[in-house]
């Protein structure tokens, strides 16, 4: 639990914002996942969201669906995703890993067995897309028992009451989904996001990350000025999809490093906002 919080505290002291890239474990091949994770860290990632492939990714757009299908075609299971995290941990004990996926593979393993295994493998947080807070209370409690952070989503349509409901369960950070739609949808409306975040902050001290629709350094920079973290997924997957296996790390590095520079330039100008009230 402490690891994600520590990242936000360190960044806050530096007046910087967290960069959280997303990739799907096992896409395009399990052999590439650990090298990609290290690449993301070298390019400036503070935390990494690692997608667990699922046969029916209902909340994802075509890009992440394809990533999921490529990984499943290689037979990647939740068990193997945990093994990949453990391999990443041999050389990196610091960068928090948040697993992001759907409920069924976790329930098939058993929630308690999963939490124990995730903790052993070096996972720090878990975001289950189809566990909204009302169905995720027990899950969040079990994660907390193992020192893992349950990450929850909020949307532009979430009522104040729901924000409070999420605030009561969440730790690590809260993931604000910037638009109506699935992952990889059209670009986000920064002004609309900026209008919403203060309401969330009045109800929780947990840092707020923003994602869905962030595709370039300029948007990432604009979001960094208003939120505590920038989550970027589909754009990275597209880069992986368009690269040959031996080029994927180089191209992903270039993309993410550019986004990192954009964010840091923006927060330097701004002098850094704080998420702690």
């Amino acid at each position: 639990m402490a690891k994600i919080q520590a990242v936000f505290e360190r960044l806050q002291a530096q007046g910087r914002k967290a960069l959280i890239p997303f990739i799907t474990a096992g896409d395009p091949d399990p052999a590439l996942t650990v090298p990609l994770l290290h690449t993301l860290v070298r390019a400036g990632a503070d935390i990494i969201e690692l997608g667990v492939p699922f046969s029916d990714p209902m909340a994802d757009g075509p890009t992440i669906q394809r990533a999921s299908e490529r990984a499943l075609a290689k037979g990647v299971s939740l068990r193997q995703v945990l093994e990949l995290v453990a391999s990443f941990r041999i050389d990196d004990q610091h960068t928090p890993i948040v697993l992001m996926g759907y409920a069924n593979p976790i329930e098939a393993m058993g929630v308690d067995a999963f939490a124990a295994a995730a903790d052993r493998s070096g996972v720090d947080g878990v975001l289950v897309v189809d566990y909204p807070p009302e169905e995720g209370i027990e899950f969040a409690q079990i994660l907390h028992q193992y020192g893992l952070d349950p990450i929850f989503l909020l949307a532009p349509t979430s009522s104040d009451q729901r924000i409070s409901q999420v605030a009561a369960l969440a730790s690590g950070y809260i993931y604000y989904v910037s638009l109506k739609g699935v992952t990889g949808s059209a670009s986000l409306d920064v002004a609309a996001v900026a209008a919403r975040i203060p309401e969330i902050r009045t109800r929780t001290g947990v840092p707020v990350g923003v994602g869905f629709g962030i595709r370039d350094a300029a948007t990432a920079a604009a979001v960094a000025e208003i939120a505590d973290a920038v989550v970027i997924g589909s754009r990275i997957i597209e880069e992986i999809e368009q690269s040959s296996a031996d080029q994927a790390c180089t191209r992903v590095f270039a993309l993410l490093a550019d986004i990192r520079r954009g964010m840091d330039a923006a927060t330097n100008r701004q002098g850094g906002t704080t998420w702690v009230r």
């Binding site: 029916d56 669906q65 069924n104 189809d130 909204p132 009522s159 109506k180």
Partner: protein, 401 residues
């Protein structure tokens, strides 16, 4: 279970451990809006009256109950009665639910309706009601199913609907449902998602059941009138489970009536090529609810097989999961071959051509009836007519048109 006070689901859509609202936060507001709109509509006499009017004058309800005498005699046991949902407009029970949801969409001011379809029956019913109420209609259909069900695709297009092929996953019904959900979350302000069965997140399983319960309510009155008593067993096929829930639900508190759901065993349960989620699946989470699912050991949803596209679904409505665990209903399976045999039997003995889905319920009756006395009664939900299946059956018999 105290049958007389059955009042599930609870306020958040749970049937015991099943059902619920397992969706991303982005869909929660839309489901809240739907739940409130449906609760208000149920209390509004004008909505209730309009639904009843449409069922009577447009669908042609009440559907008759028919005593299949020749077939009962041939089987030499219980008397078999058929609840004739095949005589509804568009040829199946699906229209009951589509009218209810389309009226609700209109009341909510949503000009655009979307639907998923497997066999195309729900797509056709949705396209039909959308045309009737002047709504734009988009139907998601697996690319695989579009190949298998060309006639229904053409029917939907004739009715003005756009049919969108779904290329993701296994390219069948479950993927069409995923894609419809993605459309809904993106276009939530002007779009109503008409789900075709008692699955999905709350309130869908409850709402679809309520709209389909007209089948069971009519049956109770008609059986009393025609036979002076209720049947010994009610039998229905189970895909997602809407025709079965429709006839079962009013019977849940009626003591002494067995409720039997028939799942598709495809090539046989042992082959793994089947669609029997309750019989061979394990509980899990898919499409917004917790229920029995066909899945591998890693929790990935597996592909299903049935000769009948309408039963070819790896999940099942959560209320069936509850009825199974509680013991109030029994679930059995029928293979492709048995269903085909029943299809032919009914054509010959009663001059009625059943849908391949309904043929599964009929096939189970052929097993059960001979074990019962001649004065016992089986009531089968005859969920649809078989015109759409001519092609499949002909192919199995080696005939090409």
């Amino acid at each position: 279970m105290a049958e007389h006070d059955y009042d599930l689901p609870d306020a958040r859509g749970h049937f015991g451990p099943y059902g619920g609202v397992f969706v991303a936060e982005t869909l929660i507001a839309a489901l809240d809006e739907l739940r409130e709109a449906y609760a208000a509509a149920q209390r509004d006499p004008q909505f209730v009256a309009e639904f009843a009017y449409e069922l009577k004058h447009y669908v042609g309800r009440p559907s008759p109950i028919y005593h299949a005498r020749h077939w009962s005699d041939a089987l030499g046991g219980a008397q078999i009665y058929l609840k004739r949902e095949d005589l509804n407009h568009t040829g199946a029970h699906k229209i009951n639910n589509c009218i209810g949801q389309a009226l609700l969409a209109r009341r909510m001011g949503k000009p655009r309706v979307i639907a998923e379809t497997g066999a195309g029956q729900h797509g056709v019913a949705t396209a039909t009601v959308a045309a009737r109420y002047g709504m734009q209609c988009i139907v998601y259909m697996g690319a695989e199913d579009i190949q298998r069900q060309a006639a229904n695709v053409y029917r939907m297009k004739l009715l003005g609907a756009s049919v969108v092929p779904v290329e993701s996953g296994s390219r069948t019904l479950k993927d069409a449902l995923n894609e419809a959900m993605r459309d809904w979350v993106t276009n939530v302000s002007d779009t109503f998602y008409i789900i075709g069965t008692v699955a999905g997140p709350h309130p869908y399983p409850m709402m679809v059941r309520d709209f389909q319960s007209i089948i069971g309510r009519e049956s109770i009155a008609q059986m009393q009138e025609q036979c002076g008593r209720q049947p010994d067993a009610v039998i229905a096929c189970v895909g997602g489970g809407s025709n079965a829930m429709g006839i079962f639900h009013p019977y849940i508190p009626v003591a002494g009536v067995r409720l039997i759901g028939v799942e598709a065993a495809g090539d046989g349960i042992a082959t793994g090529r089947h669609a029997a989620s309750l019989t061979a699946g394990r509980p899990g989470v898919l499409h917004g609810n917790r229920t029995y699912l066909l899945q591998d050991e890693n929790g990935q949803i597996t592909e299903t097989h049935s000769i009948s596209a309408g039963l070819d679904y790896p999940g099942v409505g959560p209320e069936h999961a509850w009825l199974k665990d509680s013991g109030r209903a029994e679930y059995v399976t029928v293979s492709d071959a048995e269903a085909l045999q029943a299809f032919h039997d009914l054509c010959r003995r009663e001059d009625i051509i059943p849908a391949l889905e309904s043929s599964h319920a009929l096939a189970y009756a052929t097993r059960l009836a001979p074990t019962l006395a001649k004065d016992q009664i089986l009531l089968i939900n005859f969920s649809g007519r078989g015109d759409k299946d001519m092609h499949t059956v002909a192919e199995k018999s080696g005939i090409t048109f």
